[in-house]
């Protein structure tokens, strides 16, 4: 299934590695893995489990974002208060998160190549990106709070603005923070050989998911409320 474009092709064991001896990776002729005795998706169970978790968590975020959309559409006076500085800050945060995602891909790559030191390094870089994101985010929150934004009021328009803002970005920031802790644990465990490259990849899936959610929060929360003109 891999093409030569696959960043992990040739360096990854099919399915992400670490399938114990004696377990078939390819089905016998005439059968498929849907017949039992193998992994129909060709990926380790932990990876499938994380994908399913991601689908569910994506739906949770979607529900919160839909609630925001519902209330914004219904509101007459939704403020658009974000000055250029705020937008620049949020854009920088986006860049930081995207770069940390690349660091994560490099960490997974390194783990599949068996480079323990490189893996840990890239994992720490990813976590570092997350920490920078959190710091920038909290700075921004403090700035807004200083300007009078609360979950129940703000100086510019419907109180829902603060409610939606803090709920969405707060939920996201919580996921980033949990991700940072998760990555640090994986980094430590991987360097002590307690976990395998599969676990690194699984943690990577979570991190990319967190990045992915931000791809929606950034335009929907910040850009749609940018002060234009």
């Amino acid at each position: 299934m891999s093409s030569s474009n696959d960043p992990l092709a040739g360096v990854a064991i099919h399915g992400g590695g670490h399938i114990p001896a004696g377990v078939q990776v390819y089905p016998e002729p005439g059968t498929s893995f849907w017949s039992g005795g193998g992994l129909p998706y060709g990926i380790p169970s932990r990876k499938l489990g994380m994908w399913l978790f991601i689908v569910s968590d994506a739906i949770t975020f979607s529900a919160v974002i839909f609630a925001y959309g519902y209330l914004r559409l219904a509101a007459a006076d939704w403020p658009r208060p974000f000055e250029t500085a705020s937008i620049v800050n949020a854009t920088v945060m986006t860049f930081v998160l995207l770069s940390s995602s690349v660091a994560m891909v490099l960490a997974v790559r390194a783990s599949n190549l068996g480079r323990r030191g490189g893996t840990v390094g890239w994992l720490l870089a990813t976590a570092g990106g997350g920490i920078v994101f959190d710091i920038l985010h909290i700075r921004e929150w403090l700035g807004l709070i200083h300007e009078g934004v609360r979950p129940f009021q703000n100086p510019w328009g419907t109180p829902m603005f603060g409610s939606a803002f803090f709920a969405m970005t707060g939920l996201h920031m919580l996921h980033v923070t949990i991700g940072v802790i998760y990555l640090l644990i994986i980094a430590m465990a991987y360097s002590n050989k307690k976990v395998t490259e599969v676990d690194v990849e699984v943690s990577g899936l979570y991190w990319h998911f967190v990045d992915l959610v931000w791809m929606f929060i950034f335009p929907l929360v910040y850009l749609l409320s940018a002060k234009v003109g």
Binding site: G37, L48, G49, S56, Y70, L71, P151, F152, M160, V195
Partner: protein, 590 residues
């Protein structure tokens, strides 16, 4: 077989008491733990139902012990109207979440799924243990509402804002009680989500060689589909609970409009919409009721086939119908909201799939009848409950056809018709599924047989009793008897009071009979006659191993499956059935 690094799977049997029975990684123990959590919850829920039914017909009765539980809620042992709502809310919440969403899926599913597919355990045993204890913490939070100062919330298991979102201004139980409710349910969502992904990965990845999806027992299909529904729908409830919690404690206004006067206090919120909660809640709430019943469909199909000594009629059709029901269940939630003030066009849009979803349910019911038709029926207790399931499910389901139409629902919404409908399908049919599963799997779980005589008495009294309790509700509902009222003072309801008395007596009697079941259950765990490997001559994999199974289910052997799950009625060496792991015959069935 999944990737099994040492961290993910245990290889040796646990020895300490704590590891064996408390913090166990064994899916069998966890399944039984969920089952007993459900038993505990159903006992409390049942007592609560007695209290509310008693209050409806004897409102001035001094109920012993109630004043001690809540001096404010029941001064002199006489329930206040608010406390009635509190007890009703707790009844609903406990029953829907901690009984119907635990035992059928996490209870029986955890126990039987891995063995039925030929696996040693679930895909993520540690996560499984975490799911159970998370659910347990959720239960503790909910039961705690009984003991906090103002008692449980009064907003119903559906917790509609503004009542649920405002805080203690709105009434007793709306302070701490509602907060604990929101926290409890949010925690429950997490436990369910983790369990759901465990079920899906297990079913996909851990099936033994030869156990194709189409050879799985229908129980496994039911648990898989239920898990998918859980994964997708609990996510939305979790979001809704977060937003509710924020509204209550952080001053946000997701669900609260401006200008709300509650008990003469102007609320500071503005900008929100109570309808939003209803949408989010019922988007979860409708798949939830299918989560409650679909495992029952699986268990019943399995048991009907076993005790008719006939294959399930239309196995593939049943699978397709279950998938169809799962799919459609995401398209019908608005039928709970016909009277909410939502767009009438939405109302029309929701009623169509609601009517369509009756089709696969009907097909499944007919296929059950086709399964038993011409079979050599063995009337064990589990078979009786399975047959009873067909009856009560069809009865309750028919009520749904009325409610599916907005024009009729305008009259029936908020009446006892709805109460009768959902109790027949959830409070009876789903519970019958649990009873059938209990009597069927008890020998495997505990290595002993339950008493059949007691079981039959239990069945008949319960079967007659539930019709006595819930059938009249449809008729008084048609007469306009409203629900969630703590007393019926209107003149037009007075002629119906004898019916209420009848239902209350039936409820109390049927409730008492359940103690025969509990006695049978607990007595047989310790003193029942020893059970053989396969007392029911059933074909699925759990009956190939000893009762109870060894800790890793198959004692290190990896079973190879050669047959489908329902090969009954075939001549096979003097037996009339072929086990799934029997050697392949000339015509290998798939």
């Amino acid at each position: 077989m999944s990737d099994t690094s040492a961290a993910a799977h245990h290889h040796t049997a646990p020895t300490s008491f704590i590891r064996k029975y408390i913090f166990s990684l064994d899916h069998k123990v966890i399944g039984i733990q969920y089952y007993f959590l459900a038993i505990f919850s159903v006992l409390i829920g049942m007592v609560l139902s007695w209290l509310v039914r008693i209050h409806l017909v004897w409102p001035q009765l001094h109920i012993w012990g109630l004043e001690k539980l809540s001096p404010a809620g029941a001064p002199g042992g006489v329930m206040t109207p608010e406390y009635y709502l509190s007890l009703l809310t707790l009844h609903g919440t406990l029953m829907v979440f901690f009984v119907l969403t635990t035992a059928p899926q996490a209870g029986f599913g955890n126990y039987a799924l891995p063995i039925q597919i030929g696996a040693e355990d679930m895909a993520f045993p540690w996560l499984n243990m975490l799911s159970f204890w998370t659910t347990f913490v959720g239960l503790c939070c909910l039961v705690a509402t009984l003991f906090v100062k103002d008692g449980p919330p009064i907003s119903g298991w559906t917790a509609y804002p503004p009542l649920s979102a405002v805080g203690s201004d709105a009434g007793p139980g709306q302070g701490m009680g509602q907060n604990l409710w929101a926290v409890s349910i949010a925690i429950f969502c997490v436990g369910s989500l983790l369990g759901a992904l465990n079920f899906i990965v297990t079913t996909v990845d851990l099936r033994a060689k030869g156990m194709s999806l189409m050879r799985m027992p229908l129980t496994c299909w039911a648990w898989l589909i239920t898990a998918i529904l859980s994964l997708l729908s609990f996510a939305v409830l979790f979001a809704a609970c977060i937003l509710l919690f924020l509204d209550r404690n952080a001053g946000t206004s997701f669900f609260l409009p401006a200008g709300l006067l509650v008990n003469e206090k102007l609320q500071p919120h503005s900008g929100g919409s109570p309808l939003l909660w209803q949408h989010l809640f019922w988007f979860f709430g409708h798949p939830e009721v299918y989560i409650a019943i679909v495992p029952g469909f699986g268990v019943i199909s399995h048991i009907l086939s076993t005790f008719s000594r006939k294959p399930v009629l239309g196995y593939k059709v049943i699978v397709a119908c279950l998938l169809g029901i799962g799919f459609l269940s995401f398209m019908v939630w608005g039928h709970h909201m016909f009277l909410s003030g939502m767009s009438p066009y939405s109302g029309f849009l929701f009623s169509i799939p609601t009517l369509i979803i009756t089709i696969p349910a009907t097909i499944v019911s007919l296929l059950w009848l086709g399964t038993i038709f011409g079979g050599k029926l063995r009337f064990t207790t589990s078979m009786m409950f399975a047959l009873g399931f067909i009856s009560v499910f069809v009865t309750g389901g028919l009520g749904g056809m009325f409610l599916a139409q907005p024009s009729l629902d305008i009259f029936l919404h908020g009446t006892y018709f709805v109460v009768g409908h959902f109790h027949m399908v959830m409070g009876v049919a789903a519970i019958f599924g649990m009873f059938a599963g209990t009597y069927y799997w008890f020998p495997k779980m505990f290595g002993r047989m339950m008493n059949e005589t007691m079981g039959k008495i239990h069945f008949w009294f319960t079967f007659v009793g539930v019709y006595c309790i819930f059938m009249p509700m449809h008729f008084i509902g048609l007469e306009g008897n409203p629900r969630r009222y703590s007393q019926f003072v209107n003149a037009f309801i007075q002629p119906l009071m004898p019916v209420h008395k009848f239902m209350t007596i039936a409820a109390l009697s049927t409730g008492i009979i359940q103690f025969l079941f509990f006695f049978n259950l607990f007595w047989s765990i310790f003193k029942g006659p020893k059970a053989p490997n396969n007392p029911w001559e059933s074909t699925s994999l759990e009956w190939t191993v000893p009762s109870p199974p060894p800790f890793d289910n198959f004692a290190g052997v990896h079973p190879v499956v050669n047959h489908g799950a329902y090969e009954y009625g075939e001549e096979n060496d003097g037996k009339d059935y072929v086990m799934q792991t029997d050697p392949p015959t000339r015509a290998v069935t798939g």
